[in-house]
Subunit: 568 residues, 2 copies
């Protein structure tokens, strides 16, 4: 038995001093509660992912200096601390140090370095190999980092083969819908092959486009979850973990591993802790919503801001973004801005005002016609004799961005942008207009899901937050008389699945047509997705909640003539 | 002796049909000139870098289908063709196929996959190992890809150890200042260790932020350059290459390699070609300028545009950008836009008009005061009682962006943005204002170098292109009365080297202060560089001409509290 303190903390990239302070406090709490070891997430000292901060040779050295402060704070209760560690010849490792009694006893280095999707770990790190087992309070603990537990025959199996009685796996595993089940599948497969219990510690919090959901886990030697930490919230969860492999380690046939003595067992056996309470699972819509709220809060606050503004059009996207912001920051920190033009319908302003009322947020009304008139006058000599079109429509959207940015600059707010994944995918937005903003809470939410999320929030609140009129009306940018999204785009119920197949499924036009999709629909959407790359490149970060969001997940050249429709 | 056709082509990412067409035509030309083999650059079929187009399983298959068209066009003259090739279990390889007599004889796969700087090859590719030597016209040729020739004991040395008489090395090596010397050093080191001549074939052309300079090379067994293709231009260079290693291959001690018969020697020995003419090297400023011109031309034209517009402030940055654009596209395709405000000095308009005259480009004058007044009126109730400041300044810059984008939208132009590397580094620009645009020709040029480049262009032209007044006056954004850059920033002669140390040298504040730099200057610049990350993330691509540009080269988190000044 080992008493483990799972320190599921919300740490900040680059905040070495702040992260150390949090970890030292958590260590003290675990120690006070009789813990044998406090376990922190992957790269806890630096925050995750540090990206090219790792290119500065000084950065890893500063992290190592920060580790010494944590090590100095340890006593009998050990600490497992993720951090980057410099090796010979400029090599860097994604490592976990084991500290106790005021010193660092040893370090394990991550072997399996993800370099796909949002991950660039081979850009920075060299691969390590399992070094030793750590004798913590009499238990031989194998320390592993994230994907080291994914691989048949990998580091974790070497550790168990070498005699480990418990696997501690430290993670910074970003959320996407369905991720918990994926993790459980991976951990259970490993336990099936090793018979060794696992303590899986995850990071929590938002970091640019990533959000970490926490939900740290303890699985026993039979693969059952015996404890789970909170979703999307910090928790220091202290649990008594049964150690020892059910099938022994001989089956894996590895050599016995070197053992590093770390700490002794408590002289007095502590009162056993009650079993952890089971955690209710979240419905998919609630889980996604919680991710958006946490990511938005953390982006704003970790960047030193308190307030945000949102342009409210009376549409469902801006209504949902304001709802998320109000929940993330408190309604008093959210400033709705209504910017009607000559083409705005009456219900636009009325619906936006109702939303402000429902959420308890401020709503400022700033009509854009003075600037709209001025630009018309300025551009009239240039545009003489030409029919009005997209250029004139975009001017209106850009005027609104100028107003929002002016308010943000003046009052120190951040602008939240309201584009959803469907719009971002097909480029149905104005660059430097409605696409402008510091952060995009719903850029990974397809339009049809925007409606579902808004409806679900009303349901949870037990009253309309997003007004019924917003949910009922046809989507429109209102940049010309009687405009509807459906004038320019296929209906979202057709657009969403096709765009999703391109973006998340990496399908080509040719493949979708061959699979029986409507050729015209597929060609239209495919072309729009390809051509919008230049807009996306200039978009703000948004919250990633699917296995493939825009941003670091999907790196498509702007200059690109591939249309995916081979003619032979 | 082998007659080699170096096909230094300007290919386009994703344009499989177009690239194949170019390659088939080049192959015919080499064949007609008696060539034994036509060599194309790395990933020639797909263009380089294809980035996440490679995530679409169909993409590599389409490239392989395209290869068949090239193979079908070969006769006795062989072709070495770079392309992505799918392997078992979803593996992908960065490969070079050797084709002759209408078929593909074999494939080599790149072993050394760069995953640093702008490169993400381990994201997409698995590493190969040298397979065989190709007997082309009686010569045992070892085929290698890019960094395979960088490594002591790597693929190239295995090929020579295995009996190669000539190394063909295909590349997509992006330009930066000093790159040619770096390449020569690498090639000479390899020849020193192998005694084997090298044909080094490089790509040419712009691709988003990258520009490939060509300058393909032939080095003999003594390490001397016997031929060099043009810089920043296409060329099909047919040369007679002496084959055979001076020191034999026994010294490298490798096993003999399998040989794949490809083609036979010409029945009639061809008339020897005259030795290649030596190529004059370019002065650094001219080399960089040529890179900017080619990259700008290719970004515009490969994306299907013909014309650009540039906001002309009468300052040196916009003057240089217009000069580059006029050279890249022809003056009739460049539209200068002068947008004075109440704060613009008289010389701003006069200098911009003189520039238009000197370059022979159109200059349109659109005063921004109507919109400026309108926004003041719209924002007055919001800003009542507050002192004017940054918010009001930014409004003016954003009005100019609205005007430029309206013209671009209306007439189908691209907007070139004019920020230099100093401005981009410290964030001295308005987001959605002067930072707006499709492409940033000088975003990798430090301010002091902007002056040098402008002066050098005048010198080369033998007359002032950039007016003398532009070069003489103090830099100013002209967003408030008598504003100067030096009100907000350290003088550029101090700012540039410090910002460069942060950005290109990956130094920290602590390191620079320890090295004796002025602490206040270092802290100011360091803080500005860190805080501007959110602006850079929304910036357009710009031309990379240094070993570390902004963009794919430098991936710094926005949410980041690291200040690089450890307190112990």
């Amino acid at each position: 038995m080992l008493r483990v303190g799972i320190c599921q903390l919300n740490l900040t990239v680059g905040d070495l001093d702040g992260n150390v302070e949090r970890m030292v406090a958590a260590l003290a709490e675990v120690s006070e509660r009789g813990g044998d070891v406090a376990v922190f997430p992957e790269l806890a000292v630096s925050g995750y992912p540090p990206e090219d901060l790792l290119a500065k040779p000084r950065f890893a050295l500063d992290c190592q200096a920060a580790l010494e402060k944590i090590a100095a704070a340890t006593g009998r209760c050990a600490a497992v601390v993720g951090l980057p560690v410099a090796g010979d010849g400029g090599a860097l490792f994604n490592a976990a140090a084991v500290c106790a009694n005021g010193a660092t006893a040893g370090v394990e280095r991550k072997a399996q370095l993800p370099n796909y999707g949002v991950f660039d770990e081979q850009r920075h790190f060299s691969a390590g190999t399992p070094e030793a087992l750590f004798e913590i309070a009499g238990v031989a603990v194998g320390i592993s980092i994230c994907e080291d537990i994914w691989i048949d025959g990998g580091a974790v199996e070497q550790l168990v083969g070498g005699g480990a009685e418990l696997i501690v796996n430290v993670n910074a595993s970003p959320y996407n819908l369905g991720k918990l089940d994926e993790r459980l599948g991976i951990l259970r497969r490993r336990i099936e092959r090793t018979g060794c219990p696992v303590v899986y510690v995850n990071l929590v919090g938002g970091q640019d486009e990533l959000v970490f959901d926490g939900r740290s886990l303890v699985l026993d030697a039979g693969g059952s979850v015996t404890a789970q930490a909170k979703a999307f919230a910090e928790e220091i969860l202290v649990v008594d973990v049964e150690t020892g492999c059910t099938r022994g380690s001989a089956g894996l046939g590895g050599p016995r591993m070197r053992r590093i003595p770390v700490s002794t067992a408590s002289a007095v056996a502590p009162e056993p802790l009650p079993a952890a309470q089971p955690v209710a699972s979240l419905a998919p819509l609630d889980e996604v919503y919680a991710a958006l709220v946490l990511a938005t809060r953390d982006y704003v606050t970790k960047n030193g801001f308190s307030d945000v503004c949102v342009g409210l059009s009376g549409g469902v996207d801006s209504s949902l973004v304001a709802t998320i912001a109000a929940e993330a920051l408190g309604p008093e920190r959210v400033h709705g801005v209504l910017m009607p033009s000559r083409y705005s319908s009456d219900h636009s302003v009325a619906d936006a005002e109702a939303l402000c009322h429902n959420l308890g947020i401020e709503g400022r009304l700033i009509g854009i016609e003075p600037a709209h008139d001025a630009f018309e006058q300025m551009l009239a000599p240039e545009f003489a004799g030409l029919a009005p079109g997209l250029a004139e429509e975009n001017v209106q959207s850009r005027i609104r961005a100028v107003v929002l940015m002016a308010l943000a600059n003046k009052f120190g707010w951040l602008v939240l942008t309201t584009g959803n994944k469907s719009e971002v995918a097909v480029g149905y937005s104005t660059l430097y207009g409605d696409s402008a903003g510091a952060f995009a809470p719903i850029s990974d939410i397809w339009k049809m899901q925007v409606y579902e999320l808004a409806q679900r929030r009303n349901e949870v609140a037990g009253r309309p937050l997003v007004p019924a009129g917003v949910l009922a009306k046809a989507p429109s940018a209102e940049l010309r008389p009687d405009q509807r999204d459906s004038d320019s785009l296929p209906p979202y119920e057709f657009l969403d699945p096709v765009a999703r197949a391109f973006v998340e499924g990496d399908k080509t036009v040719g493949e979708l047509i061959a699979a029986g999709a409507d050729p015209e629909l597929v060609r239209t959407v495919g072309r729009l997705v390809d051509v919008a790359e230049y807009k996306r490149r200039q978009g703000p970060p948004g919250v990633r909640v699917t296995p493939k969001a825009f941003g670091k997940d999907r790196r498509i050249p702007i200059t690109n003539r591939y249309r995916g429709e081979a003619r032979d």
